[in-house]
């Protein structure tokens, strides 16, 4: 266990905790830069999804994980960003300007949604954002002049200052750089007074208010910033998916984004990235398992001479091929995470780290959660 000897207040808000952390992040950066040389185009495309989901995750993490405001309608912001960007690019606006305008539009929408949210908490806010996203989805369907309606809308590859990001690798670097900038910006915000105000609001609104945090302002800023990041992610999303249709931005996508932050671990930026890795890579992994499990178990059956193994493998393969199984697997993982490890993948990672650094003195109760049984909402 390494103890930090703090000699200055600045140490509390340092970007990295100590030099070892810096080294590890450098190693990670070099690995990410070198990956396209090592992996095939398919995997690079999949990792690009991780980056895009990562930006979405950071956006939702700021709102849900740091400010404590639940949104069941974030797919709508993604859609607004994606459609605005696609429309502008299609009409000849330069890429950077188009992204900036798309982000500005989503930010404005975020503020507008955030205004009524100032009066609501908890479940009411979730339902209000859900209603907002349903309405926006209907707008996407009906506003055919801009969105193309049900028929959808094709999106070109990005072109920035004359450089065309036409292949997977260049787009990979574009998305990776955007995610890195997003993380840096958000981390800087979080260690500034704004971020500390957000965390205070999450932990106790009343306590924050009595310490002089002006709730309406900071909640609006959280909504606006979260929506802005979603708009940015939307612009990249539009290029990556290449074809926009209103069905994509449904409530199910919003739920998937919430799943991302919960599985990753609420209240940590690392959690957003972990969650993005999980959400983006689970479908391809299921696709691989769909073919490899029956094949592998058939081989095992052949080698051992027990036919039952082959039959079971075939059954698993058939099960995974059924429509809608993927959603069920996501649901099952969500349920298990909430029941077994509510602090998500990042929480588990910190526990493992602490276990090894404290070995053999690790105590399970260091992470014991407090439950509150107060029926506060209806006390009157």
């Amino acid at each position: 266990m390494r103890f930090l000897f703090k000699t200055a207040y600045e140490q509390d808000i340092k970007l990295f905790r100590d030099r070892t952390t810096v080294v590890w992040y450098l190693v990670l950066a070099v690995t990410v830069l070198a990956l396209p040389a090592m992996l095939s185009r398919y995997y690079i495309g999949e990792i690009t999804w991780v980056f895009i989901y990562g930006i979405c995750g950071v956006s939702l993490m700021v709102l849900v994980g740091y400010t404590g405001l639940v949104s069941l309608g974030h797919a709508a912001f993604l859609g607004i960003g994606a459609y605005a960007h696609a429309y502008l690019v299609h009409h000849g606006v330069p890429w950077v300007a188009s992204v900036a305008i798309a982000v500005a539009i989503t930010t404005a929408c975020g503020v507008i949604v955030g205004l009524p949210a100032l009066r609501m908490t908890g479940i009411y806010l979730a339902i209000a954002t859900l209603a907002f996203s349903v309405i926006i989805q209907e707008v996407f369907t009906r506003w055919e002049g801009v969105t193309g309606g049900f028929a959808g809308m094709a999106v070109d590859k990005p072109e920035i200052f004359g450089i065309r990001f036409s292949n997977e690798t260049s787009f990979y670097y574009l998305c990776g750089a955007t995610l890195a900038l997003t993380l840096l910006l958000t981390q800087n915000l979080l260690r500034s007074p704004t971020g500390r105000a957000w965390i205070a609001i999450r932990d106790s609104e009343i306590a924050a208010q009595s310490m002089g945090v002006y709730l309406p302002f900071y909640k609006s800023v959280a909504f606006a910033y979260s929506a802005a990041l979603m708009g940015l992610a939307g612009a990249l999303f539009a290029h990556k998916i290449a074809y926009l249709a209103p069905d994509i931005f449904s409530i199910l996508f919003s739920i998937q984004l919430l799943l991302l932050v919960i599985v990753g671990g609420l209240g940590s930026l690392q959690g957003a990235v972990f969650g993005a890795i999980f959400v983006a890579l689970l479908p391809p992994i299921i696709a691989i398992l769909r073919d490899s499990i029956p094949a592998g178990m058939a081989d095992a059956a052949h080698a051992t001479g027990i036919g039952l193994i082959g039959t079971i493998g075939h059954g698993i393969g058939e099960f995974l091929k059924k429509p809608g199984v993927e959603a069920g697997i996501f649901g099952l993982i969500l349920v298990l995470v909430i029941l077994v490890e509510p602090s998500g993948m990042y929480g588990r990672w910190t526990k493992i780290k602490l276990f090894f650094s404290m070995f053999p003195m690790y105590k399970r109760d260091s992470f014991k959660r407090q439950k509150s049984y107060m029926r506060s909402e209806r006390l009157r």
Binding site: R41, Y42, G45, W49, V70, P116, R119, M120, G122, I123, Y124, I127, A128, A131, V134, I135, Q137, E138, T141, I206, K240, I241, A242, D247, I248, S250, I251, L252, F253, Q256, L258, L259, P283, P284, F319, K322, P323, G324, V325, E326, A327, G328, I329, F330, G331, I333, L334, V335, I338, L339, P342, K371, Y373, M374, R375, S376, E377, R378, L379, R380
Partner: protein, 331 residues
């Protein structure tokens, strides 16, 4: 439905259009067609009102399920619509596959789903009481996804039609009274009467009221709070099943029938004031009427969004709903 997950199969970025039977949020009310314009205005109005009442009763029943669970356990159950779907499928299985009588199937489905709801409470939901509300919401959303997958694996993703004894129509003064819609309204009235009697006059019902007012005090008075919770889940699952069976002949049965209804039932519960039982029913009827009136008179596209617009206006103007009481949070 889940197009996005099918988008990137084998690394090819392409949209696969899954055949749309109904949108995620809209319900195709078979037979609820706005009457031709220019006809008898009063008859049109009455017709819309009747249909809206029937639609609203379904929303009200599902909202009632939300409210019962919320009042008793402070959990918000996003899987209520999936209980409805499960109930409809079980009754279909009993009627068509096993060839049982409609009413016996009704009973079997209600009991089966109620038992399932109670079991779910004992095994899963009891563990999350006391955790943040958000975690519970996500848990029930996850459970709903599991139920839908279960239904699609067990019963397939086809669309089924439930045979029903109420199929005729009666013409009264230019208004077509569809027996299906009448059956929904009558059954809702009966169900509400039974529930009212249960909560008002039986020992168990009064114990439930006590538990919903104060768990700790109820526990100290010797009320088996855990059992009460399971029973509340069972009742609300059974109510959802009843709504599902009543709804099934109208919208047909498929795995996504619950989601569409549940979203609007949420609007209903909020409009009525989350936590008020008469409010849930009145909210449901309000939403149903608004949906049909808007569909008949306003441009296309408003019909599906009207309930949500009403919901947002309600939240902005009167966040506690029609019948709710504003609560203050204690530090």
């Amino acid at each position: 439905m889940l197009q996005l997950m099918f988008l990137r199969r084998n690394g090819v970025v392409a949209l696969e259009f899954v055949p749309r039977t109904r949108s995620d949020t809209g319900i195709d009310w078979v037979g609820v067609k706005p009457p031709a314009r220019g006809g008898d205005k009063l008859a049109t109005f009455l017709q819309l009102t009747l249909n809206g009442l029937a639609v609203g009763c379904i929303y009200g029943l599902v909202a009632l399920g939300f409210v019962l669970i919320y009042k008793a356990t402070e959990l918000v159950n996003f899987a209520q619509g999936d209980f409805l779907m499960l109930g409809a499928f079980v009754s279909y299985m009993a009627i068509v596959w096993w060839g049982l009588d409609y009413w016996i199937s009704f009973l079997i489905a209600a009991l089966a789903v109620a038992a399932f709801g109670a079991l779910l409470d004992m095994t899963v939901l009891r563990r999350v009481i006391g955790q943040p509300q958000f975690a519970v919401v996500m848990l029930t959303i996850g459970l709903g996804a599991i139920f839908r997958t279960f239904a699609s694996v067990t019963w397939g993703s086809e669309i089924y039609t439930l045979p029903t004894p109420f199929s005729g129509v009666t013409q009264v003064a230019g208004v077509t009274l569809s027996h299906q819609y009448l059956s929904i309204i009558v059954a809702t009235l009966i169900l509400c009467g039974v529930l009212y009697g249960f909560f008002r006059y039986t020992r168990m019902g009064v114990a439930m009221q006590a538990t919903s007012q104060n768990q700790l005090a109820a526990y100290c008075m010797g009320i088996p709070v855990k059992l009460i919770f399971s029973l509340v889940w069972a009742i609300s699952a059974a109510v959802a099943t009843a709504a599902g069976i009543l709804l099934a002949p109208v919208t047909l049965i498929d795995i996504n029938m619950g989601l569409a209804v549940a979203l609007k039932a949420f609007a209903a519960a909020v409009v009525g004031g989350f936590g008020s039982i008469p409010g849930a029913l009145i909210g449901g009827i309000t939403i149903g009427l608004i949906e049909l009136y808007a569909g008949a008179t306003l441009p296309e596209g408003i019909k599906n969004t009207a309930p949500y617009i009403v919901l947002l206006v309600m939240l902005a103007v009167r966040p506690q709903g029609l019948f709710g009481t504003p609560g203050r949070k204690r530090v």
